[in-house]
Point group: C2
Amino acid sequence: MFITLEGPEGSGKSTHGRRLARWLQREGCRVLFTREPGGTILGRRLRRMLLDRRSGRIDPFVELCLYEASRALLVRRVIRPALKAGKVVLLDRFQDSTWVYQGWAGGTDLKLIEAIGRASTGGLEPRLTLLLDLPARRGLARVRHPNRMEAKPLSFHERVRKGYLHLSRRQPGRFRVIRADRPIEQVQQEIRKAVRRVLR
Amino acid sequence: MFITLEGPEGSGKSTHGRRLARWLQREGCRVLFTREPGGTILGRRLRRMLLDRRSGRIDPFVELCLYEASRALLVRRVIRPALKAGKVVLLDRFQDSTWVYQGWAGGTDLKLIEAIGRASTGGLEPRLTLLLDLPARRGLARVRHPNRMEAKPLSFHERVRKGYLHLSRRQPGRFRVIRADRPIEQVQQEIRKAVRRVLR
């Protein structure tokens, strides 16, 4: 069972991911919760390059390559073995983030992103993608110390949100859109309901 | 005028590149000589990741992504501006290396590599590619402290050589194959002759 969390900056993916992981454990599941980029030594190094504001301007195509490198490693070394061992894998960001941030909002060719994505993921697709949706401005207002991606202009983050909503309409079977500008408990309850449905 | 040096490990690309650059300067050219991966801050960091033996096993697809990221930066920040300023750009490895090392020898899909390569280079092609060719075993014997790529098995390096020769037959107008298992002076003279021809 492979579940991903997606959404614009400040939508609460990590908070809700942590809570969801703890709840799943209480329900008796073995859970692996990790995030992208990261999860491997090389992935963490790439994460620092990508998110450190001192890296300065990095072209979306370069970002694309670094994210896909980190993803390919994570899939092969961490996700596949965990799924094979029967764990629920909960991932904070996956290929949809790249499609939206570097493609839809960043301007890199979407067909190229999809081709590279098929190679990096080896065709692995989440059973469920929880899209935590809220207006870009409200999400950014929650971010205290913006990293390199979060520090991009508001117009970029508005395109990110639109890209996600576009994707979710294209693949309604996989996506579950959850309004994230509500009290944490309410959002978490809706998340658990969606997860319970696919776990059955 | 954009010229690349290609060839298996130990074929003498950097030695001949340096000599060729000095000769071109004596002939009155303004020259930029650099190498891949590298040439930018992020590129040098990626170089360390890719070539450091302590990085351990890195899948060819992951290598592909990191090389293409480094290449895209180098093309945009270094090569294009230098060409625009009228310099002769001399580059130790370029897209052909990726096609051969990660594709032909490494097993990553060649069509995917070509698609990513078109994006990373923005369609920039060398006017001349000097392929320093020699048997893999003889090249490796020249390497004192093998890095992560050089430390791969002999069979890998034999596939690398064959891949290069295949490419050179596919694009005879761009490639000039130079037998590199001869005295340095002789190889360098043949290199200069090939370069003089395209500079005219």
